[in-house]
Amino acid sequence: MKRREFLRNSAFTTAGSMLIPQFLKAYERQHLGQQTLNEKIVVVIQLSGGNDGLNTVVPFRNDIYYRERPSIAIKRENVLKLNDDIGLNPALEKIKELYDNGLVSVINNVGYPNPDRSHFRSMDIWQTGSGSDQYLSSGWIGRYLDAQCKGGSCLPHQALEIDDTLSLALKGQQVNGLSLQNPEKLYTQTQNALVKNLTNIPPTDSHDSVTYLYKTLAETVSSAEYVHSKSKVTQSRMMYPTTELGKRLKTIAELITSGVSTSVYYVSLSGFDTHIRQNDQQDRLLRQYAEAVATFTEDLKANSRLDDVMIMTFSEFGRRVKQNASNGTDHGTANNVFLIGGPKRTRPVLNEAPNLSDLDNGDLKYQLDFRQIYTTLLDGWLKTDSKLILDKQFEPLSLF
C-alpha cells in the first residue's frame, strides 16, 4: 500500500472515529487528500533557563575568555575543536561526531535588539517571535499552523509538543498545536465516557465560547486518535538513553518514521539557569542532550528520514562573559543556536566567535536576529511564507 493511501485508510478505520463529528471528518479528509509534497520536518529543542553559550561553543584561543572565567572556563586541551577559534564542550562529544559528518550548523551570536534578561520575557520573545518592544499572544509555530489552515479547517497535530502542557510557541490565532507526553497517554485521556458523550452530542448553547470549547475537544479527540493509531506503525529499535529527553525524542522518532503528518515537534530540557557551580550541572545537561540527539539522528538515518529532519536547539539567552563568585554565570544576551540534520553542510559555522572585547555592559552583542533562523526554517525548509507568520521579511541564512 502506498503511504498516502495508507494514511487515508487508517485515519478512518480507528475504533473511535465514529465519534468525530462529520464536519471534522470532512476537513480531515480534505487535508489528508491534499498532503503536500514537502515532507520536511522541524524539531525544536528548547534549553530552558539560559544555556551558557560560551561554555557550549568555547572560544578557546581567546585570552579574555580565560581571564573572565578563571574557575569555570573549559580548558583549552579539553575542547573539541571545530576550527582554529572555537570548539565544543567535551560533554558534546556526540554532537562533534555529527559535526564531523557535516550534519551540524553552529550559528554564533544569535539574539535580538534590546535584549531582555528576564527568563519569562526573553522566552516569551523567542516563542512568539516578537521584538522586545512587542507583545504577542500567539506563538510562531502556532501562526505557522494558522497559515496551513485550509477552508476554515486546521489540524492541531501538524505541530506536536511532547509534554503534558502546551507552550505559547505552539498557540496560534486560529488553531493550537497539540501537546502529548506520549500518544498512548493522550489517547487514554480522550477515551472516557464523558468525552465520548460530548463528542456525540452537540451543544445546545450557541455562544462562540461554547462552540470553541466543543471544537477544541473534538479536534483533540480526533487528533489523539489519529496520532495514536499511526504511532503503532513503527517502534524504534534503537536504544535511547533513559533520560526524559531521550524518551521524548524516541517518541518523536517513532511518530516520524510511522508517517504521522506532523511538520513541527517541540521539546524542552530545563535546568540551564546555572548561577551556582555551573560546570557540573551544565556538563550533565549537555551530555544528556548530546546523547539523546545522537541516538535520535542515528534512528532517523537508519529509517532514511534524517535528510528530511532539521533539529533546532536554542535557549532564551546566553550568560554573562564574566563568571560570578559562586562558580556560575548570570543572565546574559546573545547565544549560539545549533541546526542539526538535513543535507550536508558546506559552511558548518555561521558568524565568527563572539567578540569579547566589544561588549555591551559585559554582555555579548548579537549579530543575527533569531527570526532570521525562523525565516530560514519556514521559507527554506517548511516551504511556507514566513512573512505571514513573522509579520515582516527577515533575511534568511544560507546554510548549505
Binding site: S48, G49, G50, S118, H119, F120, R121, M123, D124, Y135, S137, S138, D163, D164, T165, L166, S167, L168, K171, N176, G177, L178, S179, Q181, K185, L186, Q189, T190, A193, L194, N197, L198, I201, P202, P203, T204, D205, H207, D208, S209, V210, Y212, L213, T216, L217, E219, T220, S223, A224, S268, S270, F272, D273, T274, H275, I276, E316, N324, A325, S326
Partner: protein
C-alpha cells in the same frame, strides 16, 4: 427546573462582579431588585482589607540582609545565602498567591477582589521581592473601586512597577523609555494615540522617579531632567505628575479603560456603542471607577443573552469559582499553584507587561482536558498524571506534579437549597445553578443515568461533579 430570568440575571451579576455564588446565596438574592443587588455589592466592598503575608518586612529588604551577612561568611557562602533568601522570597510570593485565591473564594468583598484581579492584569507586573509584590497588590486593592487618577498615580510611583519598567535607571544622562512607553501604550491611551517623540519627551519627565529598598517612592532630583519638554504639542518644564495629568485629560484614556473593562466584565467581543457610553460616563465622572462599574451592572445590555455565558473563565476565576459556588476550601497551597501552572495563569506571574491575553487563549487540548478532570480530582480522589513545566528560573518554587488534592467541603450544606425540588426536576435545577448556559437534554439524561447513588446528597454530589466537568462549566 430551568433558571428563571431573575435567577439568570442574579447569577450573571455574581459571576461577573465576583466569582459566582452558592445556590443558597442566589436564593437569598431572589427577593431583591437589580439596583439593590448592585448597591449591596458595592457596599460590601467598601472597605479594602490588605493582604498581609510578608511578615516582618525588614527581613526581606536586601539592605538588612546584606548587613546581617557581611561579617560572617566567605563570598561563596554569602551568595549561597542570598540564593536561599531568594527562594524564600519566591515561596512567600507563592503564599501570597494562595492567600489571594482563598480571599477570592470568600463571601466578603468579592467585587473588590474581582477589580483587584482586573487591575493586576491591567497593570501587569512581576517582581522577585515578596514585599514589593504584596505592596503593589494592596495598592491595587486599596484603589480598586476608587478614582482611576489616584490609582494610576499610585501605580506609577509603586516600587515594583518602577523596577519592572526600569524607571530606576531612567536618568537625565541616560533616559530609559520603558515606563513612559507602557504608561501610554498599555495603562492609558492605547497604541496609536501618541508619537515616538511623546514617549521620548515623557521619559525625560519621569527621570528621577525611583524607589528605595523599603519600597517607598523617591524623587531623586539629581537624576531629573529639569529642562523643557514638548509632550502632546505642549512645552513646559514637565515632571512625571504633569504627564499623568495630560494622559488623564485625554478622553482616549477613558475610552481605553472602558474597552478593557468591557472585555473583562461584559464580553470579549466589544460592542462599540456600549463602550462609548461607558467611556463618556467615566470621563465625565472624573474617572470614578465605582460609578463606572455600577453603570455597567445596572445596564440592561449587560444582561443581554449574548453576554451571559459568553466569557471563558480564566484559571483563577475557575479556582475561585469552585470555592465560591461550593463553599469549598483547598487544604494546602500546592494544588492552587499547581493548577494555575497547569492551566496557564499564575498570579503575580503575567507573561509580560501586557497581561494575560485571556478569552480563547486559555483553552488548548491540554488545558481543556485538565479543566474537565478537576472536579474528579477534588471530589473523587482521582489523580492527575500531569507534569507542569519548569520556567527555567532556578529560583522558582518547584511544583512538578501534585497527585492528591485535599479539600474541605460540606455537601449536606450544599444540598440544602435543593430540599424542596422534586426528584425529577433535580438534575435540571442543579444544572441551572452550576452552569451559565443550558446543556443538551440528551446529555442531561445521559449524565442522570450515570448516577448510581440513591441518597439525595450523594446524588447531588455526583451530578454536580458531572456538571462541573463539562465544557459548559468553563464559561460564565
Amino acid at each position: 427546573m430551568e433558571a428563571t430570568p431573575n435567577q439568570r440575571m442574579i447569577q450573571h451579576l455574581f459571576w461577573r462582579a465576583g466569582f459566582g455564588a452558592s445556590p443558597a446565596e442566589i436564593q437569598t438574592a431572589f427577593s431583591k431588585i437589580r439596583t439593590q443587588l448592585v448597591k449591596d455589592l458595592l457596599h460590601d466592598s467598601k472597605e479594602a482589607e490588605a493582604l498581609e503575608v510578608v511578615k516582618n518586612e525588614s527581613n526581606y529588604t536586601l539592605k538588612n540582609a546584606k548587613r546581617a551577612l557581611k561579617n560572617t561568611n566567605s563570598r561563596e557562602e554569602m551568595r549561597e545565602q542570598f540564593k536561599e533568601m531568594a527562594k524564600e522570597r519566591i515561596q512567600t510570593i507563592g503564599s501570597l498567591n494562595d492567600v489571594w485565591v482563598a480571599r477570592m473564594g470568600q463571601e466578603k468583598g468579592v467585587l473588590r477582589e474581582k477589580m483587584t484581579l482586573f487591575w493586576h492584569n491591567h497593570f501587569a507586573c512581576r517582581s522577585r521581592l515578596a514585599n514589593f509584590v504584596e505592596q503593589q497588590n494592596n495598592t491595587l486593592r486599596a484603589y480598586a473601586l476608587g478614582n482611576f487618577r489616584d490609582l494610576l498615580m499610585a501605580v506609577s510611583k509603586d516600587a515594583a512597577m518602577l523596577q519592572f519598567l526600569n524607571n530606576q535607571q531612567n536618568r537625565k544622562k541616560s533616559p530609559n523609555e520603558n515606563f513612559a512607553r507602557e504608561v501610554m501604550e498599555l495603562f492609558t491611551l492605547g497604541r496609536g494615540n501618541y508619537t515616538e517623540t511623546d514617549i521620548k519627551e515623557a521619559a525625560r519627565a519621569f527621570t528621577g522617579w525611583g524607589f528605595n529598598l523599603q519600597g517607598e517612592f523617591v524623587f531623586r532630583e539629581i537624576f531629573h531632567d529639569d529642562s523643557p519638554k514638548t509632550i502632546f504639542g505642549k512645552t513646559g518644564n514637565f515632571r512625571g505628575e504633569d504627564v499623568i495629568e495630560m494622559l488623564l485629560a485625554n478622553p482616549q484614556t477613558a475610552q481605553h479603560i472602558a474597552t478593557k473593562v468591557y472585555r473583562f466584565f461584559v464580553n470579549e467581543r466589544v460592542n462599540n456603542d456600549h463602550v462609548a457610553l461607558m467611556a463618556k460616563r467615566f470621563y465625565r465622572s472624573n474617572y470614578d471607577i465605582a460609578d463606572l462599574m455600577a453603570f455597567v451592572f445596572n445596564a440592561d445590555w449587560f444582561y443581554n443573552p449574548a453576554n451571559v455565558g459568553a466569557q471563558i473563565k480564566s484559571p483563577v476565576e475557575l479556582l475561585a469559582g469552585y470555592q465560591r459556588t461550593l463553599h469549598m476550601d483547598f487544604m494546602d497551597k500546592a494544588p492552587v499553584l499547581y493548577l494555575q501552572k497547569a492551566l496557564g495563569q499564575v498570579l503575580f506571574n503575567p507573561p509580560n507587561v501586557a497581561g494575560w491575553p485571556g478569552g480563547k487563549t486559555w483553552i488548548d487540548s491540554s488545558s481543556l482536558l485538565t479543566r474537565m478532570q478537576i472536579p474528579k480530582l477534588l471530589f473523587r480522589n482521582e489523580t492527575l498524571r500531569l507534569d507542569v513545566k519548569d520556567s527555567g528560573d532556578a529560583n522558582e518554587e518547584v511544583i512538578k506534579r501534585k497527585k492528591m488534592f485535599e479539600v474541605s467541603m460540606n455537601w449536606e450544606a450544599f444540598a440544602k437549597p435543593f430540599e424542596k425540588v422534586a426528584e425529577k426536576d433535580l438534575p435540571k435545577t442543579l444544572a441551572s445553578y452550576l452552569l451559565q448556559v443550558p446543556i443538551n437534554d440528551i446529555l442531561l439524561t445521559k449524565l442522570e443515568q450515570q448516577v448510581t447513588d440513591k441518597e439525595r446528597v450523594d446524588k447531588i454530589k455526583q451530578l454536580a461533579v458531572s456538571f462541573m466537568s463539562l465544557p459548559e462549566y468553563q464559561v460564565c
